[in-house]
């Protein structure tokens, strides 16, 4: 017990979360046939987070297939205090089901000093 760690780090440093706007996006027909799109803006004010996962859900938070611009995955890299516009694409047949478009902070597993706060902000399609 000599080296027993009395304290465990829960949250280490003060950080802020990201901003995800607009609050109420609208999907429109994209230039690709059969695909609807909307533009979201992510402002990263978390110094400890560089990657965000984009998520699209229906009203019951069931995931809906989607794609984003410039990437094969649903994870985007946004540096500290930078803004990125993310175009979200969904099949037109699914666009009426989309209710929430969310962004969630990704915390690196090997991160030693990062705050362990996972922040997720969801906009609602109306």
């Amino acid at each position: 017990m000599k080296y027993f760690a009395l304290l465990a780090i829960f949250l280490c440093v003060e950080v802020t979360a990201h901003q995800w706007t607009p609050t109420y996006p609208e999907f429109r027909l994209s230039y690709i046939g059969g695909i609807h799109t909307t533009d979201m803006k992510l402002y990263n004010t978390r110094e400890d987070v560089d990657y965000y996962q984009i998520q699209v859900f229906d009203g019951y938070f069931n995931p809906i297939k989607f794609a984003i611009n410039g990437g094969q995955s649903d994870v985007i890299n946004v540096s500290f205090r930078k803004t990125k516009v993310v175009s979200v694409y969904v099949p037109s047949s699914e666009s009426s089901r989309v209710v929430y478009v969310c962004s969630r902070s990704m915390i690196l597993k090997e991160e030693e000093t990062a705050s362990l706060l996972s922040s997720r902000i969801c906009s609602k399609v109306k």
Partner: protein, 165 residues
């Protein structure tokens, strides 16, 4: 010569009549910002228990929500039910937690606590006022049947969500 000078002077006055107008534009839009106000620390009051309660030697983490417009968002805060980092554990860990309103920026937000909805390890608040609300998240973990936690670092993850209504 006099005419030339008069023209030159006129030109100076004419050019001096221009004024630079620098517009400042702004756009107030609804948004939600989540801030970690106080870092949380687990205390270890007994060998089998880790707790963020200050009476147990811990520090309760506090998260602040700022919303720019009323009734646009709800807050969903989830206390941890597993460690994201820990030494190897070979017995069960029972997690418990509680989310409460710690401070508010305007008096009418004091209703948030009585109106909250709790399910599983999540607590939901309707953010019906614009301004800042501080939420305290208590977390506690008990190891096995009064078994001592192995030495090492323990981390767990709070999920703070802001969902448009």
């Amino acid at each position: 010569m006099n005419k030339l000078m008069l023209c030159a002077i006129s030109a100076i006055f004419v050019s001096g009549a221009y004024a630079e107008e620098i517009p400042i534009t702004g756009n107030v839009e609804s948004k939600c910002v989540i801030t970690t106000d106080t870092a949380g620390v687990y205390g270890n009051p007994t060998p089998s228990n880790l707790s963020t309660d200050p009476t147990d030697g811990g520090v309760t983490p506090i998260v602040r929500y700022d919303v720019s417009m009323a009734e646009y968002y709800k807050a969903l805060i989830t206390w941890p039910d597993e460690f994201s980092q820990s030494p190897e554990l070979n017995d069960t860990v029972a997690f418990d937690g509680e989310v409460t309103v710690d401070r508010v920026s305007i008096a009418t937000m004091s209703d948030y606590e009585s109106a909250k909805t709790e399910y599983q390890n999540s607590t939901e608040y309707e953010l019906t006022e614009s301004g800042s609300t501080w939420f305290a998240i208590e977390s506690e973990a008990d190891y096995g049947f009064s078994k001592a936690f192995p030495g090492g670092t323990y981390r767990s993850l709070i999920t703070a969500e802001c969902i448009a209504q």
